[in-house]
């Protein structure tokens, strides 16, 4: 990599690190490099790249953060991709990771809510919940209605979290419920990495690259 390129990265890092809360300049630099590496892998397949596409992003989530649920991964991608251009740009990458890896509780609540709000109408509706949870219970063929369990689970959860009793979760409902019981943060699917993979990823990105 040329010294020009290095200079460029440093300037870029300087700017971005001022906009992002949880990373310092060096860390941003590392993240940019990592982004470029990942981008390079994409580029190798011979397409023009504006950022990480869904395919690549899903493989990152899967390989680095142990996520398996396709639907959730798509949702995470959608949340990272703020401008909805089907690519996660460098800025989106770093801003997203800031919350994803090191977000405060409030940031995480906001992030999770966005993930679960499928139609982005600022409410998580009963139907959205059902959709998110539809594969979470083993269906028993003996039962009359195989979805009965899930419907019931949705009702229980809604009853617990819907503080204003309007039959759907507003952001404030969600926030309040999570503050009461932190376990409800990822209520409708794992969309945040666990502490082990977070540490592994940070070590991989920040330390191994510095040695390079």
């Amino acid at each position: 990599m040329s010294s020009l390129n290095r200079k460029l990265i440093q300037t870029l890092a300087e700017t971005i690190s001022k906009q992002v809360d949880h990373f310092n300049k060096t860390e941003v630099e590392c993240l940019i490099r990592e982004f470029n590496v990942l981008l390079g892998e994409c580029a190798a397949s011979g397409r023009a790249v504006n950022g990480l596409d869904k395919e690549k992003f899903r493989s990152i989530l899967h390989n680095n953060f142990g996520m398996t649920d396709d639907m959730i991964m798509d949702l995470v991608f959608r949340t990272f991709d703020r401008d909805n251009d089907s690519f996660v740009s460098l800025k989106e990458w770093i801003e997203g990771l800031s919350v994803f890896l090191r977000g405060t509780m409030d940031e995480k609540i906001k992030y999770c809510f966005q993930v679960y709000d499928l139609n982005s109408d600022n409410y998580i509706s009963r139907e959205e919940m059902f959709h998110l949870l539809k594969n979470s219970l083993i269906r028993q063929p003996t039962e009359e209605d195989p979805d009965e369990g899930i419907k019931d689970l949705v009702e229980i959860t809604l009853k617990r979290m819907d503080h204003d009793h309007d039959g759907r979760l507003s952001f404030s409902d969600f926030e309040k419920a999570v503050k009461e019981e932190n376990l409800l943060l990822e209520a409708f699917g794992t969309c945040l990495p666990d502490i082990m993979s977070t540490e592994a990823f940070e070590q991989h990105v920040f330390q191994e690259q510095l040695v390079l």
Binding site: T157, R160, E186, A187, G189, T190, D194, M196
Partner: protein
């Protein structure tokens, strides 16, 4: 005779009659019967026995007079039977007697040996009735069936004098009855026998239901029932036994159960009546029969509640049957279901059964109300007590139907077992920690008993929570991690501190799932599971089940997790699970103690902590909580120490947060029962922090601090440190917390131990007016407070001024009142304090007036050796300081005999104290005479071989004083007491020398003792002792040597001049 002997007499294994009061009175009754027989019933007395009664006698030919042919050592009676055989024949040592007239005569001849003769006769003729009347009659007599026509027997009998024989038979029968009723009068049975019988009848009914039966059989060991309703032999009734049962459960070995007034327990295996051994208790005592059976037979326990609900809701035995049939049908239906669901059947069944009941018998709430009236049902039953169980219940049923009530009865056994159940559930509700109080022993002895399995009572409608929880558990089983977390959250919304929810989770199989989750990699699932477990484990049974399922191992493993929330939760869960011994052991065995100690590393004293550091503090707090729970057994205390926990705890002790301090100090005070901890607490400077926290506003914290000081202040340096850090005043101010008894107990305990240092009393406590407060606490306090208060007073009273203050505050009277208590620990302290007070003349006058000496004296009868010795020590100053003490001692009837008998004790402390008291008593010549009559001299002499210096000192003193009467000096010599005494002079203890020298001086007034002493080389050590600074000692030694010398001179003169 026959009946009373087999039922009432207590036989030893060797076939001898035991020497028990019961047997003695039985023998005496029999004796008077035999003695008077020939004069009262001359004709019957002539009846010749079927077979002779034979036994070995102590009588010889010389005892027999007229009416007998005497040839050498053999004797024959003049009286002969129709066949010419003599009716009495003696060829020593065997004697044969063949009629009551001869038996009476023999008993008269035996004079003062008659009891022994009768005893020997009975022992060797256990079948006396058979021998006298022949087997047929004896049989009837044994059965006590008065209505059987005896006449037809006579026909079969080719007998002579049939009339007499029948008369004789009736006479014996009457005697039997009288004897038994007399003996029964001596026994009082207090338990509600009717309730017990109902229980047993109900159990019997449970045996008769084919495949569904809960027990194979239930039977009494004896069909014979005494008129007071008991079935145990009379000599066992004295101990409170009522009857014995043999219960054959479906799944385990036979249970041999003793029903006694004290409760129900397993015995050593009494299989049938007349057993000679096996009466000892081999299990815990249970309040009711059901609990015992449930604890012994898991099968029974599992099924009884279902049955119980059935029995309870159904009015009669008949309907029980009907119900069981319907359950059977249910069973068959279920067999066709898939195997997969089989494991759920247990729950399902109970539910279905329940539904079934509800369907069929809708008005059950009303029955419950009516059930309260059941005592009247009981009264009816009592009337029909003598009829058999089946008759009884059918009778009741009729009555009930007559009165129109559908059912007034709850299941019979629920009645008497109710108190037991209540108490157990109360036990569950008391937080275990609340009972853990002071005194070293408490930590081990107040161990939470493992309780027997108890399912949700299905006699009430299952709460709606039950079904909701069951549903949630189903989701837990079939959900991925997202569903699992949601379900766990939903479960957390239930009131998990409520027993119905706790047991519901267990009963629907939720515990297995929760524990399985702990072994997954899902942090959120683990957190959720632990959040539930830490709450439901407040329930005793849940804790046990968690441990049984191996859940504790998984929780211990989680302590290694890098997630701090998880660590904290795991530690907190351990804190609530490890409340019983097995759990604590499991924690230790899986390395939990070390892991918990590792959690204690954190920064505490920084003013502002980062979020991360705060989490560390929380983890440490939970670790301390867990250690606190675990620290209740000795091995864990040791493990904590080895893992380096003490300095870490010491560091946390400086924390400013109460919620951290409570578990830390709690752990420390628990561990302070170990010497190593006490030293560490002292050397690591923790006393200062403990004292500081005495001033906290948190009473729990204050209590633990006071308890820690209580335990540590056994050590003198710690006591001084408490004073140095100004800990005495806060302790005293805690005395005002009259309403918090635990705190009060801890504070008084600490004051007690601190007052052992005279400096503390003299310099500090006096100015705080502690005595006044303490005296006020002598009344209306629980025993653990009293023990400490009295202990403290005892220490204070070592200072003369305190004795006056105690008197002036009116403390003597409550103290004397406490002498009639029963708690040994308290009695030891009370006697000690009374003794200390009695060293003051004015106090003694009050004690005497309150009859305190008699009370102290009677404590010599207390079974506890500590109380005995403490009482004997207390007697010394009492006797010394009482006015006219000689007369006072004499006025205590049997007192001197009592104290002399204590010289047979095996406890050195008791012996020493008794010797000291005897030395005081013997100062009064008249009393010494009585002591001598009771054989004090040989008893003292027997003790002389001891090597215990304290005993030696007081023994020598007692011997010295006992020499002053009659020929006691010579008796001591003959009993061999002199030689060992000489050896005492080699002891290193100066006080031993002193009293020994005095004793030797007294003994040396007898010439033969002088010879013995001289032989044993007494002169040399005595001359050495003459050089002592103590004048009395000098004098005694010199006097002794003089006596020896005088004898020698006299001896020489005698040789020279005669």
């Amino acid at each position: 005779m026959g009946l009373s002997l087999t039922k009432a007499a207590q036989w030893t294994t060797a076939g001898k009659l035991e020497f028990t009061p019961m047997n003695e009175s039985l023998l005496k009754e029999l004796l008077s019967f035999v003695e008077d027989f020939s004069s009262r019933h001359p004709q019957e007395a002539e009846h010749v026995f079927e077979e002779p009664l034979r036994w070995s006698t102590t009588l010889g030919a010389s005892d027999f007079k007229t009416d007998y042919y005497i040839s050498g050592i053999d004797v024959q009676s003049h009286e002969k039977d129709s066949g010419g055989q003599p009716l009495l024949q003696l060829s020593p040592p065997t004697v044969c007697v063949r009629s009551f007239s001869q038996l009476s005569k023999l008993v008269h001849l035996a004079a003062d040996k008659k009891l022994e003769e009768l005893r020997a006769c009975l022992e060797e003729n256990k079948d006396a009735m058979v021998k006298i009347l022949g087997p047929c009659f004896a049989d009837i007599l044994e059965k006590e069936d008065t209505h059987t026509d005896v006449l037809h027997l006579v026909d079969k009998d080719q007998g002579k004098d049939p009339e007499f024989k029948i008369n004789l038979f009736h006479l014996l029968q009457n005697m039997n009855k009288q004897l038994l009723s007399k003996l029964l009068e001596e026994i009082e049975v207090e338990l509600n026998l009717t309730a017990l019988k109902n229980d047993i009848e109900s159990l019997k009914r449970l045996c008769s239901e084919g495949e569904k039966r809960l027990l194979k059989s239930v039977r009494y060991t004896s069909d014979f029932e005494f008129s007071n309703g008991c079935r145990a032999p009379l000599w066992r009734q004295v101990y409170g036994d009522i009857c014995y049962l043999v219960v054959e459960p479906c799944d385990t070995e036979n249970l041999y159960i003793t029903c006694s007034t004290a409760g129900f327990f397993l015995n050593g295996g009494i299989k049938q009546e007349g057993a000679e051994s096996g009466y000892e208790r081999t299990s815990d005592t249970y309040k009711d029969l059901l609990t015992l059976l449930k604890s012994r037979s898991p099968y029974f326990a599992e099924h009884i509640n279902k049955q119980a609900s059935a029995v309870q809701e159904l009015p009669s035995t008949q309907s029980v049957h009907r119900h069981v049939e319907s359950v059977d049908m249910e069973e068959q239906g279920e067999l066709q279901r898939s195997y997969e669901q089989q494991e759920k059947n247990v729950q399902d069944k109970s539910r279905k059964q329940h539904l079934l009941n509800k369907k069929k018998y809708e008005p059950c709430p009303r029955w419950k109300k009516l059930g309260l009236m059941s005592p009247c049902g009981k009264a009816e039953e009592r009337k029909s007590r003598n009829s058999s169980g089946m008759e009884m219940s059918s009778e009741i049923r009729k009555k009930k139907q007559g009165s129109g009530a559908k059912s007034k009865m709850k299941a019979e056994f629920s009645l008497s077992s109710l108190p037991g159940r209540l108490s157990s559930s109360q036990k569950i509700k008391t937080p275990a920690r609340a009972t853990e109080l002071s005194s070293e022993s408490s930590s081990q002895s107040e161990e939470e008993e493992e309780q027997s399995e108890r399912r949700l009572e299905s006699n009430t409608d299952l709460p709606p929570e039950y079904w909701q929880i069951q549903k949630l558990v189903k989701y837990l089983k079939g959900g991925d991690q997202t569903a699992t977390v949601l379900t766990l959250c939903a479960m957390l919304d239930f009131n998990l501190m409520q027993e119905t929810c706790q047991l519901a989770i267990r009963d629907v199989g939720g515990l297995e799932v929760l524990i399985n989750l702990l072994d997954t990699d899902e942090v959120k699932c683990k957190i959720g599971s632990l959040k539930i477990l830490r709450k439901i484990s407040h329930n005793v049974q849940i804790r046990q089940t968690i441990v049984d399922m191996g859940g504790l191992q998984s929780i211990v493993k989680i302590l290694d997790s890098p997630v701090k929330d998880l660590k904290a939760l795991a530690a907190e869960t351990i804190a609530s699970v490890a409340r019983f011994r097995r759990a604590r052991r499991t924690v230790r065995l899986y390395g939990g103690i070390k892991k918990l100690v590792n959690l204690l590393h954190c920064v505490t004293n920084l003013a502002s902590l980062t979020a991360n550091q705060q989490k560390d503090v929380e983890v440490a707090r939970c670790g301390a909580l867990a250690l606190w729970s675990c620290s209740k057994c000795t091995k864990n205390k040791e493990a904590i120490r080895k893992a380096g926990g003490i300095p870490l705890l010491g560091r946390l002790l400086k924390s400013p947060h109460e919620n951290m301090l409570v578990p830390v100090v709690g752990t420390l005070q628990e561990c302070a029962s170990q010497e190593s901890y006490r030293i560490a607490i002292q050397t690591e400077g923790m006393v200062k922090d403990l004292v500081k926290n005495l001033n906290s506003d948190n009473e729990e914290l204050q209590m633990h601090c006071a308890n820690a000081i209580f335990k540590c202040a056994e050590d003198e340096q710690t006591r001084d440190l408490v004073r140095k850090y100004k800990g005495l005043q806060p302790l005293v101010s805690l005395l005002a917390k009259v309403n918090n008894k635990q705190l009060l107990a801890a504070a008084t305990g600490a004051i007690w131990k601190c007052s052992i240092s005279v400096d503390n009393v003299a310099e500090r406590f006096q100015e705080y007016k502690v005595l006044e407060s303490l005296v006020e606490l002598l009344t209306d306090q629980p025993e653990d407070v009293l023990v400490n208060v009295v202990g403290a007073l005892g220490e204070f009273a070592q200072i003369p001024a305190s004795k006056t203050i105690i008197r002036q505050c009116g403390g003597i009277k409550p103290l004397v009142n406490l002498l009639s208590g029963t708690n040994p620990e308290l009695l030891v302290n009370v006697t000690k304090t009374v003794g200390a007070c009695a060293t003051d003349q004015d106090n003694m006058a009050i004690i005497d007036q309150l009859d305190g000496v008699r009370l102290v004296w009677s404590l010599l009868k207390n079974p506890s050796a500590d109380v005995q010795s403490s009482a004997a020590w207390a007697l010394c100053p009492c006797i010394e300081n009482a006015k006219d003490s000689g007369e006072m001692v004499r006025s205590l009837v049997g007192g001197l005999e009592l104290i002399v008998n204590l010289l047979k004790s095996t406890n050195d402390e008791v012996l020493a104290s008794v010797c000291a008291a005897i030395a005081k008593i013997a100062k009064d010549k008249e009393n010494l005479a009585v002591l001598t009559d009771h054989g004090v001299v040989p008893l003292l002499a027997k003790l002389t071989n001891t090597t215990d210096d304290k005993l030696r000192q007081h023994l020598a003193e007692a011997i010295g004083h006992c020499c002053m009467w009659g020929s006691n000096r010579a008796s001591f010599g003959e009993a061999g007491a002199v030689a060992p005494l000489v050896r005492y002079l080699k002891s290193k203890d100066a006080t031993v020398h002193q009293s020994t020298a005095m004793a030797l001086y007294q003994l040396s007034k007898d010439p033969s003792n002088c010879i013995t002493m001289h032989e044993k080389g007494v002169v040399k050590p005595l001359i050495h002792i003459m050089g002592s600074n103590d004048k009395t000692l000098q004098e005694a030694a010199a006097g002794c040597v003089r006596n020896i010398r005088l004898l020698a001179v006299a001896n020489r003169k005698a040789i020279l001049f005669y």
